[in-house]
């Protein structure tokens, strides 16, 4: 059988072509897989960044185990800091939480609520009220005095006299404890 150089070259070229084709196929598959993973990573990163940003903007979670207890404790501490330990906390009531109503939802599973607590403090002068409000704003800025009503106690005759002060304290809080970071 006669050796044909052109056949040897053609055969080698064909084998090389097949080998290159296979290697190229493997490379393209891996490259596509990498592109897909890169896009997925970018998408997940963007989602996680947005999630953490939204979580950071959320108001704090409200302890719900002891109704009013949370606020009463803070109120007593604040009065003590303002040297007003003798001021009587006459009443604390919660008119109810307000939630943002979304179309088609009942609002029962709302993630954010606006809570109001009505506090009635007795026998407080205007300066004592100012002292206490200053301390409150310094330590509990999340609770906003949204309404104040000062009623002169019968028998007192000056503005600096005693008042029964009704204060509506309002705060935003989350009902949802997010998993993962930022608990």
């Amino acid at each position: 059988m006669r050796f044909r150089p052109s056949s040897a070259i053609a055969g080698t070229a064909a084998l090389c072509f097949v080998a290159l084709l296979l290697a190229w196929g493997r490379f393209k598959a891996a490259d596509q897989s990498a592109s897909s993973a890169r896009a997925r990573l970018s998408r997940v990163s963007a989602n996680v960044i947005e999630l953490e940003t939204l979580r950071a903007e959320l108001p704090p979670v409200m302890p719900s185990d002891k109704p009013h207890g949370f606020l009463v404790t803070h109120l007593r501490e604040s009065l003590q800091r303002a040297d007003l330990a003798g001021v009587q906390i006459k009443q604390i009531t919660r008119p109810g939480d307000r939630v943002a109503q979304r179309p088609g939802t009942s609002g029962d599973n709302a993630l954010v609520s606006l809570r109001s607590e009505v506090i009635v403090l007795e026998s407080l002068t205007t300066s004592e009220l100012g002292q206490w409000l200053q301390d409150w704003r310094q330590h509990h800025a999340e609770w906003t005095p949204s309404q104040i009503s000062m009623n002169a106690i019968r028998g007192r005759t000056q503005l600096s006299g005693g008042y029964s002060v009704t204060i509506h304290m309002t705060t935003l809080f989350s009902n949802h404890q997010p998993p993962g970071l930022n608990p």
Partner: protein, 303 residues
């Protein structure tokens, strides 16, 4: 007598033109180029056969295209080829016969007739010299080696890039898992699809953000109260019965000894920053005058 010219270095054997059979073939009747070379040679052989004094099987011919539609045919009897010089690597005519030269000069002036004739080599195909065959084999071997080497290098390069891509996919997947763990905590280990869980959590947070934007905390009224008390006239003997502050309204209800003091209180309250007096009312009371003084916030842009 046979006259043989042999080039000493290249073993290029040149024979007198009268030892060859010559013809210029008109190939315009043949099919267009594109047919297999062996078929074309066979058909040219049929054309040449009509003017050859002996059968085509007993000669070895070569065909060189001169111009479109014309081919120079040159043949040598096989018995003369067999007794050629063993070292010869090419064999051809020393020159062309006069009738060929004349035809080339008349019809194909652009052609370098001398060089063209020198390029004729009949040691082709079955008469290819062993030295040429060896050289061709060596050359082929080199081409095969180069092809194999290039393929090997390219394949190694592609394989390295493939491995690198796979490794980066693993890194990215690990990174994605870390992000899921950070964002969802243990939620990724309870069998749920973390991507779906992340999107669900994101939707919840967007809804929460919308709710938060809808639920604006009312303004802090203690700032307004501080401004009012700061402006309160000390000389006024007001028996204030009620001060009521909300975000958009302050209502002062005061019992004063006379109208003068009521007007003084009104003037002082008109200086409270960010607030303006609304429709106030005086009402006579048992011990003086009862003043009802509403304050409303100054709208932005109001002079």
């Amino acid at each position: 007598m046979k006259q043989v010219h042999t080039h000493p270095e290249h073993c290029d054997t040149r024979l007198p033109p009268n030892m060859f059979y010559w013809a210029i073939l008109d190939t315009s009747g043949l099919p267009a180029p594109g047919i297999r070379p062996s078929t074309r040679v066979q058909r040219l052989g049929y054309l040449f056969e009509s003017i050859l004094p002996e059968p085509t099987e007993s000669v070895h011919a070569v065909y060189l295209p001169i111009a479109a539609g014309h081919v120079l045919a040159c043949a040598l009897p096989r018995d003369r080829l067999s007794d050629r010089h063993e070292d010869a690597i090419s064999l051809g005519p020393l020159e062309a016969p006069p009738f060929i030269l004349e035809s080339l000069a008349n019809e194909h002036r652009a052609l370098d007739a001398s060089g063209f004739i020198r390029s004729i080599n009949l040691l082709t195909g079955e008469y290819e010299p062993p030295a040429v065959l060896r050289a061709k084999s060596r050359c082929s071997l080199h081409v095969v080696m180069i092809l194999t080497l290039c393929t090997l290098l390219i394949t190694i390069g592609l394989e390295r890039r493939t491995q690198s891509s796979r490794s980066s996919v693993m890194d990215m997947n690990s990174h994605i898992q870390t992000l899921y763990d950070l964002a969802l905590g243990d939620a990724t280990s309870n069998g749920q699809d973390p991507a779906a869980r992340l999107l669900s959590e994101l939707r919840r947070m967007r809804a929460a953000s919308d709710s938060r934007n809808q639920l604006q905390t009312p303004p802090d009224v203690s700032i307004a109260l501080a401004s009012i008390l700061e402006r309160w006239p000390s000389v006024v003997a007001a028996q204030t019965s009620n001060v009521h502050l909300t975000g958009d309204r302050v209502m002062i209800t005061a019992l004063l000894p006379n109208t003068t003091q009521a007007e003084q209180l009104e003037r002082s309250m008109s200086e409270v920053d960010g607030w303006t007096i609304g429709q106030r009312t005086f009402r006579p009371a048992r011990d003086g005058v009862e003043l009802r003084l509403p304050l409303v916030p100054i709208e932005e842009g109001t002079p």
